[in-house]
């Protein structure tokens, strides 16, 4: 256990150093994360104004609150591992990681958490600025805010496991970009990034309930906004645990199978 703690501490320093080195990359990444929720915030506010103030129970201020919270939640649970694995496998940089006596997922988790810690203040500042501009209707409910903490943590773990496992597709093919894009498009729809899931047609909502996407982004968002009943929250956490179990099993299985086909070309 101490060994792993040391690894996390060391990864923290490494990530910090590389962040200080690549500041411009940070800006680009930030624009991507802010622009998308901002676009849909504006579009849906326009819709609600076009239809006399409210769409399916959402006013412009509700949309503002939804997309600003969504932006933060997405930021907290986001990973970029799928872009990275293709490079690691193709260039063979994965090989030294395999020689270490711990599972490589640990350094990825540590890297992810460190990046989040560094960028979170900036993200919160942007959220505050957007709140000043768009005047969101934000009425936090104490129990929901308390439940948000474990829910968003679970969301992070589930999303990390799913995307880390998916990233392993790089072991079998060098063309992961089409697969990645398919994943992101599904994510956009079923996680609630395009619109609150309540506004989507019934079949889409049913699919979203089964798939992991909603439980990693939309669910924590709706919870923090106080739009869920305690029963819905319990059901949601049940789905999160179910996907956590599925993710763990899949991850171990795919990782082992992937290592067998990995030939370390280019290393």
């Amino acid at each position: 256990m101490r060994g792993i703690a040391d690894i996390y501490a060391q990864q923290f320093k490494v990530t910090l150093a590389s962040f200080i080195q690549y500041r411009a990359a940070l800006v680009i990444w930030l624009i991507g994360h802010v622009l998308e929720p901002l676009i849909y915030l504006v579009v849906w506010s326009t819709v609600s104004r076009s239809t006399g103030g409210s769409v399916g129970g959402f006013t412009a201020a509700d949309f503002a609150a939804y997309f600003i919270v969504l932006m933060i939640v997405n930021h907290l649970t986001y990973t970029w591992i799928m872009y990275e694995y293709e490079y690691r496998v193709r260039q063979g940089t994965l090989s030294p990681e395999l020689l270490r006596p711990v599972h490589p997922i640990h350094s990825d988790i540590a890297d992810n958490i460190t990046s989040k810690l560094i960028t979170l203040p900036g993200m919160l500042a942007i959220a505050a600025l957007m709140s000043l501009i768009f005047r969101p209707a934000f009425h936090p409910v104490p129990w929901a805010a308390a439940a948000f903490v474990p829910v968003v943590l679970l969301a992070f773990i589930v999303r990390f496991l799913v995307e880390w496992t998916l990233a392993l597709a790089a072991f079998w093919t060098t063309r992961v970009s089409a697969l990645n894009q398919m994943y992101f498009m599904a994510m956009l729809f079923f996680s609630g990034q395009i619109a609150p899931l309540e506004l989507l047609p019934h079949p889409v909502r049913v699919i979203a309930f089964v798939l992991p996407f909603r439980w990693t982004v939309g669910f924590p968002t709706e919870l923090l906004l106080g739009r869920l009943t305690p029963g819905q929250v319990l059901a949601g956490m049940g789905m999160q645990f179910a996907w956590l179990a599925v993710g763990l099993v899949l991850m171990r299985f795919v990782w082992r199978a992937g290592l067998k086909v990995y030939s370390a070309v280019g290393a």
């Binding site: 680009i28 624009i31 622009l35 326009t46 819709v47 076009s50 769409v55 501009i133 498009m185 619109a195």
Partner: protein, 261 residues
């Protein structure tokens, strides 16, 4: 005429180069279709709640989506790869070979690389645009079509000049690729009419990162809402940026020391 022939030559070289990687075409096509599918599904959701959006009818927004894909495909096919190559050339000194050729070097660097598979976006965008035109039907007359063509041409000049200015910064600074990336990521905002955005963002998308003239304004023309003053403004900006980018290029080349060659 000679410039057109030059462009066709580079185009053919680009095609020949990429033909060795034919499966890339299928990949690009799948990705383009998915992107377009998501955009259209998003529109379907929005318009299931309202019949007009900020004064735009569904067919008009559809036309905008078509223009968006068309323009972004053109950028990704020619402008972006060529500008990236230009930056590379400045860093590595390979720009020498271009400068010694007996043609206008600015033209040569602007069309030096064609990533032909991105033509899938151009084709799909044109398809969407055609569907939108059929839906708009009789509302699109000769004047709308002419306005559209004029606005699209101005938008093209603006986008090209802007990219060239960014790329020529490579003559002075080292890491310029990131700035190109910023433009690419901001471009996504052009999928919706810029009139929807708050004033500060609309200003940014019009003047700082001129997305508006490449997407919203041509679509406005098709919808019959393009005022003469907007079109004149587009051409004024196009002229200013074209002259400015030419100046950037000239001064930059004079500074160019072909350091690493």
């Amino acid at each position: 005429m000679r410039y057109l022939r030059l462009f066709l030559v580079f185009f053919r070289v680009g095609v020949l180069g990429e033909l060795s990687y034919r499966s890339n075409f299928v990949m690009h096509l799948i990705e383009s279709i998915m992107e377009l599918g998501t955009a259209l599904a998003g529109l379907a959701v929005v318009f299931s709640y309202t019949s007009t959006l900020g004064g735009w009818r569904p067919a008009e927004i559809l036309a905008l989506v078509g223009v968006y894909f068309l323009v972004s495909g053109a950028i990704r096919m020619v402008i972006q790869p060529s500008m990236e190559r230009l930056i590379e050339g400045v860093h590595e000194g390979t720009l020498d070979f271009t400068l010694t050729k007996p043609e206008d070097a600015q033209l040569l660097v602007s069309i030096q690389r064609v990533e032909i598979w991105n033509i899938t976006d151009v084709v799909l965008g044109s398809g969407v645009l055609a569907v939108a035109l059929v839906r708009l039907g009789a509302n699109v007359g000769v004047s709308e079509a002419a306005g559209f063509a004029a606005a699209l041409a101005a938008g093209g000049i603006i986008v090209y000049s802007f990219w060239l200015m960014l790329a020529t910064l490579a003559f002075w600074f080292v890491r310029v690729e990131n700035m190109l990336m910023i433009f690419s990521s901001m471009y996504e905002a052009g999928r919706w009419p810029v009139g929807f955005y708050p004033r500060w963002l609309r200003f940014m998308l019009t003047f700082l990162i001129p997305v508006a003239f490449a997407t919203t304004v041509p679509a406005q023309a098709l919808a019959g809402r393009l005022s003469v003053s907007t079109l004149a403004g587009a051409y004024a900006l196009a002229a200013v940026l074209a002259v400015l980018s030419r100046a950037f290029w000239r001064v930059g080349v004079r500074r160019y020391s072909s350091a690493s060659s």
